[in-house]
Symmetry: C2
Subunit: 93 residues, 2 copies
DNA sequence: TAAAATGGTTTATAACATAAACCTATTTAT
DNA sequence: ATAAATAGGTTTATGTTATAAACCATTTTA
């Protein structure tokens, strides 16, 4: 009935990030920061966790002379998200 | 876009409890414990929080000689739950 | 009359979310 | 040329949380 909710996704900010990445397939750090209205520090930490879990891929490069962090969802991440949503539905329906 | 998720409800066990109470309008401690597969300690703590938030009402009585804890959702709790679900949908749809 | 079970509560702890402080480099103002 | 502000983050510190472990009072069973 109540299947466990992936703790990595059951977090407001990480869930918002994943939600955005699903629609976009690629997003910059600053974009995610704006859309989620989070602080850079918090976002940085949560992106790290998602990456370590293999849910997203983070690419560091430069745009002009400035550092640029780009995030992409992985297939693992997508699957995890979908399962999370399925499980969550049992709680809220 | 991403409205804040009520931290009181964005918790696996508390959400499960609320979900159960919505269907039932009244439930015993042991029933909630079984359905949620939680430990008594954890459940006790989380029920306390829900009560302090005014989301549920807890009544203590006896069944025969044994203590009996009964929980009911309040209208405040119901409203909070519904709002939580509405907000959550923006994250998962 | 022990021992186990019932129905919980309280306490300890590890993980978590978050903001604050910090860092490096770049651009702008003086 | 130098100082101050901005960009784009990371690291660290701190308060909350979720959770399990330990505990407690009573009752039932062996």
């Amino acid at each position: 009935m109540f299947k466990p909710l992936d703790p990595l996704l059951h977090s407001q900010l990480r869930l918002a990030v994943m939600s955005l990445l699903i629609g976009l397939e690629e997003a910059e750090f600053t974009f995610l920061k704006e859309k989620t209205e989070s602080t850079a520090g918090n976002l940085s930490v949560q992106l790290d966790k998602l990456e370590k879990a293999g849910y997203i891929q983070i690419e560091k490069s430069f745009r002009g002379k400035r550092p640029l962090t780009t995030c992409k969802i992985t297939s693992t991440g997508l699957k995890a998200f979908e399962e999370y949503v399925e499980n969550l539905k049992n709680y809220i329906e």
